[in-house]
């Protein structure tokens, strides 16, 4: 007897549709599909970029042409036809919807469930917004405050225009162009992203979120993010949002680079909820991301991610612990449902002495999905007394889903201390029944159990984000109980 037969709700996960995706029909200023030097020149020209930027892109394109799409990940997908993609698409201001009443009621229901405010709902669903609306004024006062501290937070395009030296100095230093197939592609054709600079000794007083970058271009297909924290500074950065995002672009290949100088600390939190496709995975987003940070002496980088979306995810936020006494952390919850496939994890590269890393990974697999953790802990010859603790837990919701762990350890210094723990468990019918007996519904029961399981990671998220992420986890695994 399969688990699915035991529990109708678990079975329904398999069939659950992504009810909340939406598309907006925005007319856009597109260039024809295809990738060649002319296209890259056109992108650069449209963005009015300086010469060095164009050269950088063209070099990257050459590198990319010499590379092959990787096949080692535990995922299967139809490789995109890179000549069939249009590499530049500037959204034209489309005729906005008049009011929230015109928005898909199902989408609104989800946003209500997620506790997203009405104003925010309008923004997310493309309703014309009044300029006195809350978040705009928040965003304005927000920018003023940051300005006083010398903190720069703007789009990558703006940074290239206004802060070219800072960009040039750091871009590609953490994720080199030739790092991998997707990073090379991104370097050649990235259209926008975020830039964030925290000067020496500054403590950024609020969570920096792309959320506040209202009216500026949202996430692109090839997003580029660069965060630079100077000596002794601190910043917490939030990426993504819990509201479901559908995108006509099937391929997303972002690059995120973090630079933490001596004694600096960067917290980078992500909630990723791209459209996962239908029950067969058709139409879902491929999310191939390269995220990496470098830590100088006593610096610290923490990656926290909650991944619930995408048809195929390929993502390993990593830390290069270059400076002595530096610290890298990775906290992850990855949920896969239906036909979703995720191959995600981290790399902790210990180069400096007394470096420390922690990896907490919680995978949740439902439906027929495949969820893999892939992690590398590498201790270099100079890394005396390096320590790593890894814990990789997998929770299976069905018999037809899969959980896999691929931990790689390379220690080239005998003083290294590496601990690895891994568990795999099935969601307990006993646990669910216990909850039902106390009057909880099946949805509530599963939400509670899953959130409890992922608690260690969720607790690392900034407060408001954590509340939303909890709801998101429950919703992602919710069956259409009726």
């Amino acid at each position: 007897m399969s688990a699915a037969e035991d529990n109708p709700l678990l079975e329904e996960f398999t069939r659950k549709e992504y009810e909340f995706g939406f598309t907006t029909d925005i007319a856009s200023d597109k260039i024809p599909p295809g990738l060649n030097e002319e296209v890259i020149k056109l992108i650069s020209a449209k963005k009015n970029e300086p010469e060095w930027m164009l050269e950088w892109r063209l070099d990257a394109f050459k590198v990319w042409q010499s590379m092959k799409e990787p096949e080692w990940a535990h995922v299967q997908y139809q490789k995109p036809d890179y000549q069939a993609i249009s590499y530049y698409s500037a959204p034209k201001s489309a005729a906005p919807l008049g009011s929230l009443d015109e928005v898909d009621p199902e989408l609104r229901a989800t946003m209500d469930k997620l506790g997203i405010s009405l104003e925010e709902q309008k923004r997310l669903s493309g309703v014309a917004v009044d300029f006195v609306m809350d978040s705009v004024s928040v965003a304005t006062s927000f920018k003023e405050k940051l300005g006083e501290l010398g903190i720069i937070f703007c789009s990558m395009s703006e940074a290239i225009q206004k802060h070219p030296d800072l960009v040039r100095q750091h871009l590609g230093t953490v994720v080199p162009v030739k790092d991998n197939f997707f990073s090379a592609l991104n370097s050649a054709v990235f259209t926008d992203g975020s830039f964030c600079y925290i000067p020496k000794g500054a403590r950024c007083p609020m969570e920096l979120s792309t959320y506040f970058r209202i009216n500026e271009a949202g996430t692109g297909q090839f997003e580029r993010t660069l965060v630079v924290a100077e000596e002794g500074s601190y910043v917490s950065y939030l990426e993504g949002c819990t509201a479901p995002q559908r995108d006509e672009n099937q391929l997303h290949a972002a690059v995120v680079e973090l630079v933490a100088k001596d004694d600096a600390e960067i917290k980078y939190s992500t909630v990723q909820n791209w459209y996962p496709g239908d029950a067969q995975g058709k139409g879902g987003v491929f999310n191939f991301v390269t995220k990496r940070g470098i830590c100088e002496t006593r610096a610290k980088i923490s990656w926290t991610q909650v991944e619930t979306g995408s048809a195929v995810t390929w993502k390993y936020p990593s830390c290069i612990l270059k400076g002595d006494g530096s610290t890298g952390e990775f906290y992850s919850v990855a949920v896969t449902n239906n036909a979703q496939q995720a191959d995600t994890g981290t790399k902790m590269i210990h180069l400096g002495a007394n470096t420390n890393s922690t990896i907490i990974s919680k995978g949740i697999s439902a439906g027929n999905s495949q969820n893999s953790y892939r992690g590398l802990v590498q201790i270099g010859p100079r890394a005396r007394n390096a320590r790593n603790f890894s814990q990789c837990d997998s929770l299976l919701m069905t018999d037809t889903s899969g959980a896999h762990t691929f931990p790689y350890i390379e220690a080239k210094n005998p003083t290294a201390q590496i601990e690895h723990e891994a568990t795999t468990s099935r969601i307990g019918e006993d646990q669910i029944f216990y909850c039902l007996q106390r009057g909880l519904t099946e949805e509530q029961a599963i939400g509670l159990i899953v959130n409890g399981y992922a608690k260690e990671v969720l607790n690392k998220l900034p407060m408001e984000f954590a509340v939303e992420a909890r709801k998101l986890l429950s919703i992602s695994l919710e069956g259409s109980v009726g």
Partner: protein, 253 residues
């Protein structure tokens, strides 16, 4: 309030309950005793609506409602509570958060207002005192790292919080030392009332010294084979079950 008629239930291909009949009035305490494997926990699970158990014949009526038509959640909302023989652990979910979710879910389904934070905490305090539950246990994850006795006390604590109409206690006394037994019994006794019934499943008569039943039943081979007053428990303690189980002449429908 509870009427079970000719109940047959099975799990997989094994029939476990084979024509069980039992009737309980409001405010009554019934004890069910019986050898290991006789189907006591099965009866508890079937009453609580566990889906793995298939009811193949018979009926259960609760306050005039066909219980078999309700799912497990609806039965909890109707006022049925099961203190589990083996309470499960739910890592990462605090006991207090769990109970609050449960209580408010039940209230919502009964179309009642959720309990305010203040009222909830006052209630927690009173109920925890009742079973001398340590404050730390209220904040820890549900049953995680609890000793056997603490788990059982936690079950009674939850019962006190949820105020059921029918409480089924499945071997709540097993694994308890004499102090814990006294505490648990005190909790149950102080909850006895005219509108609340208890079905107390136990192996040992010593529990019934503390929680004095109105009726005692012997469950064997999936049926109630003998019923009597509280003195029956003493007799069973003395003579064991064999004299009843082996002698169908004493069987009572």
């Amino acid at each position: 309030m509870l009427q079970i008629d000719n109940l047959h239930a099975r799990i997989g291909d094994t029939e476990i309950l084979k024509g069980l009949t039992l009737s309980m009035g409001a405010g009554e305490v019934h004890a069910i005793m019986g050898p290991n494997g006789s189907g006591k926990s099965t009866l508890a699970s079937v009453l609580a609506g566990r889906e793995e158990y298939e009811v193949t014949a018979g009926s259960i009526t609760f306050d005039g409602v066909d219980l078999l038509e309700l799912d497990a959640t609806e039965r909890a909302v109707a006022g049925i509570f099961l203190a589990f023989q083996y309470p499960v652990e739910i890592p990462g979910v605090s006991n207090i958060n769990f109970l609050r979710s449960a209580l408010n879910s039940i209230r919502e389904q009964r179309e009642e207002e959720p309990l305010s934070g203040k009222d909830f905490l006052a209630k927690v305090k009173a109920c925890a005192q009742l079973v001398e539950l340590d404050g730390k246990l209220r904040d820890r994850s549900v049953n995680e790292g609890f000793s056997g006795g603490e788990k059982k006390r936690n079950e009674i604590f939850q019962m006190a919080m949820l105020e059921p109409r029918l409480a089924v206690l499945d071997e709540t006394d097993s694994g308890l030392d004499i102090d814990a037994l006294r505490i648990v019994s005190h909790g149950v006794n102080s909850m006895r009332s005219a509108g609340r019934s208890f079905l107390v499943i136990t192996h040992y008569q010593r529990l019934l010294d503390h929680i004095v039943p109105d009726h005692v039943h012997v469950l064997a081979g999936g049926r109630i084979v003998h019923s009597g007053g509280k003195e029956l428990a003493l007799e069973l303690e003395d003579k064991g079950y064999d004299w009843i189980v082996d002698n169908p002449a004493t069987e009572k429908a």
